[in-house]
Structure formats: C-alpha cells, structure tokens
Amino acid sequence: MAELTYRDAVTRGIAQEMARDPDVVFFGEDVAKAGGVFKTTVGLLEQFGPLRVRDPPISELAIMGAAMGAAMTGLKPIAEIMFSDFFAVCFDYIANEFGKSRYMSNGQLKCPLVVRTGNGAGSRFGAQHSQSVENWCMMIPGLKVVAPSTPRDVIGLLAAAVRDPDPVIFFEHKSLYATKGEVPDGEIVDQLGTAKIVRPGRDATILALAFMVPRALEAAEKLKAEHGLDCEVIDVRSLVPLDTQTILGSLARTHRLFTVEENPRLCGWGAEIVSIAADEAFYDLDGPPVRITTPHLPLPATDILEDMVLPTADRIVDRVRRSLSA
C-alpha cells in the first residue's frame, strides 16, 4: 500500500500496461519529453523509449486517426487529448469512426484503443478549457466511457481500458490530479461497467462521477450529521457499459434518486439514468428523481463564478434535504 496522487496514478497505470504488453504505445501533444502539461506522464519516455512514447504535432485529427489505424492493425495505442474540450476538433473519430468500424465491417475491423483526456472544471481556465464532456461520448454507440474518481480506480480502470478490445474514452478529472489515495502494491486491474457503492445508506441514492464523487460523499456526511439522513453514494465510474444493476438495486432499497453531474444540464448522463429509473423502477420511486447539475451555461473563468456553477456539497445537501422532506 502506498499513497499516490491521482496524477501519479495515471503515470503508474500507463507504465503498468506498457511494461506488460509491448504493443501498448502512447502518444499525445507534449507527453513525451515534457511529461505532459499536467505532468501525468513524466518518466514514461525514459522508461519506454522514443519509439513507444511520442510527441505528435498539434494535429488532433492525425492523433486520433493514427490511434485508430494502429489499433486496427495490431497495436494497443493510448492517445492523449490534452483537454477534453479538444474532442471537438477530432470529434469525427469519436462520433463516426471508432465505434462504427467494427459494426460496418460486420466484425472484420477492431478498434482496441484508449483515449485519455483531462476533463472538467476548477482551474479557472474558462469556457474552452474546463468542460465536462463525458456525455459527448456516452451518446455515441460503440464506445465505452470511463471516469475514475480515485488514484486506485485510475490505475485499475486504465488497465481494464487498455486490455479491453473496444475503444474506450478515459476521462481524467483535472481537479483531481492533485488528490491522494491509497493504492495497493503490484498490478491493479479493475473491470469496466461496474459502479461502486462508496457509502452505503438507506434514505436515498446519490449517483456521482469523477470530481463530483468526493462532493457527494461530503454531502452525504453532512446530511447524516446535520439532518439525520442516511444517503447511499454510488460512484458511477463507467458510463458505458452502465452498471444499471447496482444503480437500480440501490434505488430498490432507498426509493429516492439523485444524480450529481458536472456536465451542463441538457442531455447529461443523469438524464439517461433518470429516464431508465423512471421507466424501469417507477414504482420503486417514492418521490421525484432529481438531477443536480452544472446549469446549462458556458463556464465562466473567474474563480467565484466558477465555484458557483459546479454542484457543491452544500447544494447537494440542500437539494436532497428539501426533496426528502417535501
């Protein structure tokens, strides 16, 4: 067991997989010599050499396309897109290529790649460098989509992603890079498509993802301490495959559902899960399912405005308390 930052867990996760499989290659803007703009990949070039860890030009189309071509023909590439906002400049691969080639070719083509990216707000970078865009990927058939909230999950889910035979979009949260957590020694391999109950509870189910998980946990503690409400918190972890069993199982016990999303409101993952719950578990629900999201806005740069816009523990507490006492 060691304490590791989420940032260092990224490095260790990549290294674990590169050491295991020589077909794993890694590339992205400034990831090699410079170790990445978020310093998530320091030392990988030295460890694995310039053939396996490479600095491409500022050419996100080339990066994503090359990852796909390499994956199709036998490598297991990990590509980094520096900020998830930049998915918009290479969205063709995400939306039209990665997840469709196997289907269109009737199973002839494969696309076992991982795209890692820095997602989310909190750094006061403004509207084009702070977005939480996991729903841009969740909505595309054929992809898998993961977003870990702890260092341990970073390693385990990254390993699962690299070993998965399908294209996986791997969302790291920029505001979690500096956070720390216990990580066991040795190889860690987790499983895609599994949510985790990170705090059991009886009165309500709160779903959260990535940076929202610690906030939901904090809210749950406050709800308990201040209002006597015992909430179950589930770290969704994997949007596709979605662990509806764990989610609906929890709902069957608590009878109330809250989702805490960082992405802007419209068509977020919370909407999808709420619509599943409303359809399939309607009679389990003792009250309206509630989505707590970033409002449907571009993100402001200024600290006090950015702090207002993301769901906070206090906002979660307030919303859950009001809803449960209604």
């Binding site: 189309l61 080339a62 396309g65 090359a66 071509g69 269109m104 199973g107 035979p165 399908d166």
Partner: protein
C-alpha cells in the same frame, strides 16, 4: 484548369516493349483487373437502373487504371484505405465480384452482409482495411496503420486513396504533415477526377494541382501522373512502395483521371461542359491498355478471352447476388462490441 492530363497519350509507347520492367504476365493481369472493374461497375449501374442496388453508390468508371496500377504493385499484406468510391480498389485487391455486388444489393452474401453498404467496403483478408465515407477521415487512419508497420518492423505499406476535393479538408493537411515527420510507410494517392462532387475542383482550390502542388508543404516530391495509363501508375506505385519499405517515408501522388458517370447514383452530372466526357473517353484507360497489348503483340483472342471470361464471372456473380437472401435480422445487433453484441448496460 487542371483539365488536361499532365502526360501526353501513348507516353509509355517508347518503352522497351513486352519484356520490359513490367512484362507480359503483369500486363495481362492489369488488363484483366481493369476490365473486371469496368464490367463490375457497369453492372452495378445496370442493377441500379433495375432498382436492385439500394442506397447510394459511387462508381469508378473511367478511373480503373489508378486502382489497377496501385493494386498490381502491392505485395500481399499491403493495406488499402478507400473512400465511398471504393469498389474499384476493393476489386483490385482480389475481392470476389459477388461479394462487392452483394453488398451493393444489400444481400447476405455482401462483403459485410449488408451492414456497411456500398460506401464502406471492407475485406480485411484482402488487405482492404475499410472504405470511409467522411471525406478525409481515412488519411490519418492510414498513418496509424503505417505507424504500426514501422513500430513492429513489418514491411507492409499502407496506401490511402482519395479524391481531389479531399485535399481541401483539414485531415489531409494533418495526415500529410504527420506522416512526413514520422517518416511513415504510407502512400497518399489523389485521384484527381476534376470534380469535388458537382463543383469543379479548380473553383474551390488555390492551386492547379490540389495534391501535387502542396507536396512541398510536407517536404515531399511533386508527382502528377497520367491516371489513364496503368503502366504509368504501376511504375510510380512501385517506386513509392520501394521507398516506403526502405524507410524513406510517405509519398503523395496525384493521378489525373475522370469519372464517366455522375458523382453518385443520384447525379446525372449535367454540370460538366459539353465535350468534356467525350474528350476523356478518347483516353479511356482500357482502350489505351488494350491498344498497348495489341501493339506489344498480344493476340486479339487472348485479349478477347480475358474480356469474355470477366464477363462470364460478372454474370455469375450477378446471378448469385440475385439469388442471395437478404441479411438475417439478427445482424442488426451483432458486432457493435468485440463480444459480438451491443449491450451498453448490464
């Protein structure tokens, strides 16, 4: 502009003859290939008129020499990346006619059993690593395949076919620079058929030769070929493959050609100036090649034998397709993910 092929007709006539660097066997192969593409495409068109081809389709009638010259120069294991206008390149790699027509006719015997359609022909066993319908998308993908070859020390080369109009999209630029900097074994082949869909390429492009005039931007040699002469294509292709295999990096090759039919099945191609089609038909690649075979002393009956044989095979393929059932319905949800299924939840 850019309406005249860069090489004069009959340019290769001065070559040493049948036993030159190409030779009789390869020439007969290339003739057969061109005839097969011609007849298959013509058949696709006829079947469309009979309402037996559904969806869209993009023919390469008139462009047969490019596909032929490149495919003939390939080694097994070399990889092709095509566009929606990919029937020719697919056939040229040896994919059975039946499997191509079957896909166009949306039958179970189609190359992808009807799941992909005419724009996405793929036959991995023949090295056809897919046909891509988003303009430009496959250039970076071909780079990735070439990177794999470079990394693994495999000796195969990836070749990526695209049109003149594709040179104006961002992915073209990114792929060319990327391939040049990483010295990837990839060949970019621009089939300049003078039109991006319905608009003449000259009206939307800042240079006369949309690919070749930009080669210098990537430190590459400027190459413009007569796309109607399979020998010319074959020689250039061989050189590019050799260079790529020797670690010399990418090539960008522009082939001047012309499509006889409209852009896609819906297009009567009325936007073309009078006489343009006729002028190009005078330089029909199959006619050029047939004349050369004759000139080199190949007997007329050998040539006719190839033509008849291809015709028979196209007929047979057509009949098989007509008789083939539609795809089975369980294909709908198969092969989204590697486990064979489509479950996005548990």
């Amino acid at each position: 502009m850019a309406r005249k092929p860069a090489h004069a007709p009959g340019e290769t006539a001065g070559q040493p003859g049948l036993n030159d660097d190409i030779g009789e066997k390869m020439r007969l192969t290339m003739y057969r290939m061109q005839v097969e593409i011609r007849q298959s495409e013509q058949r696709a068109y006829d079947l469309f008129l009979q309402n037996l081809v559904k969806g869209t389709s993009h023919l390469s009638l008139g462009q047969e020499a490019v596909a032929t010259g490149f495919a003939a120069a390939m080694k097994p294991g070399d990889l092709s990346f095509c566009t929606y206008r990919g029937h020719a390149h697919t056939l040229a790699r040896g994919v059975p006619i039946e499997r191509v027509l079957g896909e166009l006719m949306q039958r179970d015997n189609g190359l992808m059993r009807g799941k992909g359609g005419s724009m996405h022909l793929t036959s991995v066993e023949h090295g056809v690593m897919g046909s891509y319908a988003i303009v430009g998308a496959h250039l970076p993908i071909a780079c990735g395949a070439a990177w794999r070859a470079q990394y693994k020390g495999d000796k195969d080369v990836s070749v990526c076919f695209f049109g003149d109009g594709t040179t104006n999209i961002g992915a073209f630029h990114e792929a060319l620079n990327f391939a040049a900097v990483w010295k990837l074994p990839v060949i970019f082949v621009c089939e300049n058929n003078l039109y991006m869909e319905y608009t003449p390429i000259g009206e939307v492009t800042s240079v006369e030769h949309p690919a070749a005039d930009r080669a210098a931007s990537y430190g590459l040699e400027r190459i413009v070929l007569d796309g109607q002469d399979a020998d010319t294509i074959y020689r250039a292709a061989r050189a590019a493959y050799d260079k790529a295999r020797a670690g010399g990096g990418p090539s960008l090759i522009e082939c001047m050609t012309y499509r006889y039919s409209g852009h896609s099945r819906a297009d009567p191609a009325k936007y073309r100036p009078d006489g343009e089609l006729d002028a190009w038909k005078k330089r029909d690649p199959i006619k050029i090649y047939r004349d050369r075979l004759i000139q080199f002393g190949i007997a007329e009956n050998v040539i006719a034998g190839i033509e008849t044989d291809v015709n028979r095979r196209v007929d047979e393929a057509t009949e098989k397709c007509k008789a083939a059932p539609p795809p089975s319905l369980d294909l709908l949800t198969s092969d989204v993910y590697a486990d064979g299924g489509w479950a996005w939840r548990n």
